[in-house]
């Protein structure tokens, strides 16, 4: 348990990235999500914008940045769908805020921690999305525990790999 908490200075250091990365990575995530799903039907089980939101939130460890980043990425993702703008924005704003808040308290450099956080956030994201679609929009949306579990696991695996890839571009600040 001690390995999962940010007990050292190294664990709580704020990581910075090139500014262009904050723009290109979400755009690339949205583009890949949109394009790859065209040729691989089951690719839509992934949620690359959500993984990018989680990564930047836990890396920056700033709830405000996480909230705004989640809102912007979520609204951009909403723009590609038929649903009103803000559904994914609300979900990802909350995820960004929670991820940044937890990033201050836990060791986000650990892959196990990242996996647990990602699994929980993906599941939470699905729950919030279901709640908004069913209750706020009153639209049909089937909830399946099995499907959501599989979805969370897949996103967790891909997220851990993606986070490790993005770590190569970070610039440490002390």
């Amino acid at each position: 348990m001690s390995r999962l908490t940010a007990a050292t200075r190294r664990d709580i250091e704020v990581q910075s990235y090139p500014l262009i990365l904050f723009v290109l990575v979400p755009l690339l995530a949205l583009g890949l999500q949109s394009f790859v799903s065209l040729h691989f039907t089951h690719f839509d089980i992934l949620d690359l914008p959500l993984l990018v939101t989680i990564y930047f939130a836990i890396s920056r460890r700033n709830p405000m940045v996480g909230t705004v980043a989640g809102a912007v990425i979520g609204i951009a993702q909403d723009a590609l769908t038929r649903q009103p703008l803000g559904i994914f924005g609300i979900c990802k704003s909350i995820i960004g805020y929670l991820a940044a808040s937890l990033g201050v308290r836990v060791d986000t450099e650990n892959h196990g921690t990242r996996a647990l956080l990602t699994f929980g956030f993906v599941f939470l994201h699905s729950g919030m999305y279901w709640l908004l679609v069913r209750r706020l929009l009153a639209q049909p949306y089937a909830w399946s525990w099995v499907h959501e579990s599989i979805r969370s696991v897949v996103n967790t695996v891909v997220g851990v790999l993606l986070f490790a890839l993005l770590d190569l571009a970070k610039q440490k600040e002390y």
Partner: protein
């Protein structure tokens, strides 16, 4: 206060962001406007969506272009086996299909006109726009496709999107260079469909699993898996008759228990779409290309019809007269040259063993004599000519003139007909006018092209009857030939009132069948003393009197009906 804001600034920012987004969502999902004022998105939302798509579309287009370029290099430079032959085949197929398209378009226009007459509007596909799919929504819950054609390409909201295999969806949002297509598998989509076999109508929607289904269908045992589903055209978006898919299975509607949902297997492979067609025109307009195709198809059809008629005319045996092939052919050619639209009269081929029932063996009606016996008595058939109203002398000139005039007005092809028809018309016209007169037989003309002048006895070797005024007010026709044996004439119904056995004059047929002596114009032929008028017998349906059953060997040809043609 400042410490509160600084202490909870993160939470306050979160609340503020959430609040703004909730308000934004609430604005977007407010009650929809009427259809004429409705827009898929409000202006601000549309702008944000446009920004997002403008940001996402370039990398999508780039990746798509990259993949297409690689495939193009392979297809255009490497995999070119049998391309030339295939190109030739396809061009030939294209020409044939263009001709068919013109004919089909004409049929469609005709059907549309008929439907307009029935006040039923149905949309036809007149113009499509091919588009490449460059992206999707990327999530399971929203079945949205992005295509590379937008408003500047002519795409508009609610245009149907199809593939050759079946329908895909409809255009939901249009941007200058891209558009969003709502698939039929989306839960918010809707399309009017009909089951092809059972003719059950319904609304097609997507379910939570991304499968299209016909919702709210009454349970019916006739619905079987594999039944085709097509668009019904009732949604005013999709044209009627487009393939939708096939029945996969039936599930009970959980929200409407007695009803069932028919899950459809889409005809178009919606998971592997790359190119689609946007139907951009379903109105009454036709393109110049279609007009040209229609003209070409009509020209081809006319040429084929003319060619077929010529081939048929050449193969017809009656086209050539065996007795005088040159004259007949020449006349037919003349007819064809004067007006190719006038069809030649069709004649049956000559019989190998002609008898009296064979065509062309009966004499023309003009050569028949009313009351003359044409069938031998031994046959047991009594065939007598029925009396027809004769042409009165006072009107004969005009009638004959009319007949002559009418003869000149006839179509060229009718000159080749026997003149009996032409000359029987005045009598028939008089009969139609209610003139009850004894029948004046038609002239006896061996040659069908004889010229007839009313009031003249005979001319050019032809003998014909000539009406003369009678002293008792009855029209009396003087025969040009000596009278022959007694003739019995059966009249329709009872005899006319006041007329007791009128004695019309006939031109009895000679045993040889040829015309007797000619008369000079204006001269009265001499009646033989032995001539008596025919005996008029009312045709009351009873058997003819026994006197009619006497044999008449000199007449062998059967009688022709009134005004009949040989």
């Amino acid at each position: 206060m400042e410490s509160f804001l600084s202490r909870y600034k993160n939470a306050l920012v979160l609340i503020l962001v959430l609040l703004l987004q909730v308000i934004g969502v609430a604005i977007q999902v407010r009650r929809p406007l009427p259809k004429e004022h409705a827009q898929p998105d409000a202006g601000g939302v549309r702008l944000i969506r446009y920004w997002a798509i403008s940001l996402v579309s370039p990398p999508e287009r780039f990746v798509h272009w990259l993949g297409a370029s690689i495939l193009g290099v392979w297809d255009n430079y490497i995999d070119l086996i049998h391309v030339r032959q295939e190109n030739k085949d396809l061009q030939a197929e294209m020409r044939r299909l263009r001709i068919q398209e013109g004919a089909i378009a004409e049929d469609a226009r005709q059907g549309q006109r008929l439907q307009e007459l029935l006040s039923f509007k149905e949309k036809y596909i007149y113009k499509t726009l091919p588009a490449q799919i460059i992206g999707t929504s990327g999530i399971e819950q929203s079945r949205i496709l992005s295509i590379d054609k937008g408003a500047k390409d002519g795409v508009a909201v609610d245009m149907p999107v199809i593939t050759p295999n079946g329908i895909v969806g409809r255009v939901r949002e249009v941007f200058p260079h891209t558009s969003q297509v709502l698939e039929i598998t989306d839960p918010t989509s809707g399309a009017g469909v009909i089951l092809a076999t059972t003719r059950i109508r319904g609304i097609l929607r997507g379910n939570a699993l991304g499968q299209p289904q016909v919702v709210g269908v009454m349970p019916d045992d006739r619905i079987k898996p594999g039944e085709a589903v097509v668009t019904s055209g009732g949604d005013q978006i999709f044209p009627r008759g487009l393939a939708v898919g096939y029945v996969d299975h039936i599930v009970v509607d959980p929200e409407h228990d007695p009803l069932v949902d028919v899950v459809i297997r889409p005809a178009a492979n919606l998971s592997q779409l790359e190119e689609v067609l946007v139907i951009t025109n379903m109105g009454d307009e036709i393109t110049p290309r279609q007009k040209l195709d229609m003209i070409q198809s009509e020209a081809v059809a006319s040429a084929e019809q003319l060619k077929a008629s010529e081939i048929l005319a050449e193969k017809l045996p009656s086209r050539i007269d065996p007795d005088n092939p040159d004259s007949d052919t020449g006349s037919n050619d003349k007819v064809m040259s004067e007006d190719s639209a006038v069809a030649n009269p069709m004649r049956p081929p000559p019989a190998l063993h002609p008898d009296r029932f064979s065509p062309n063996t009966t004499p023309p009606a003009s050569s028949l004599i009313p009351g003359a016996r044409l069938a031998p008595q031994s046959d047991g058939v009594v065939t007598v000519a029925r009396p027809r109203p004769a042409i009165p002398a006072t009107t004969n000139g005009t009638t004959a003139t009319a007949a002559q005039k009418k003869g000149t007005d006839l179509a060229p092809g009718e000159h080749s007909r026997p003149p009996a028809t032409t000359q029987a018309r005045p009598a028939a016209q008089n009969a139609a006018a209610g003139v009850i007169q004894p029948h004046l037989p038609a002239t006896t003309q061996p040659h069908p092209a004889a010229t007839v002048n009313a009031g003249h006895g005979s001319e050019n070797g032809h003998t014909f009857a000539r009406p003369l005024p009678s002293t008792n007010g009855q029209n009396r026709t003087e025969a040009a030939t000596p009278a022959k044996p007694k003739t019995i004439v059966v009249v329709d119904g009872p005899l006319p009132g006041g007329v007791k056995k009128p004695a019309p004059t006939f031109a009895p047929k000679t045993p040889s069948g040829t015309a007797p002596a000619q008369h000079a114009p204006g001269t009265q032929p001499q009646h033989p003393a032995s001539h008596k008028g025919p005996e008029l017998v009312p045709d009351d349906g009873s058997r003819p009197p026994p006197s009619m059953l006497k044999p008449k060997p000199q007449s062998t040809a059967p009688a022709q009906p009134h005004g009949g043609r040989p």
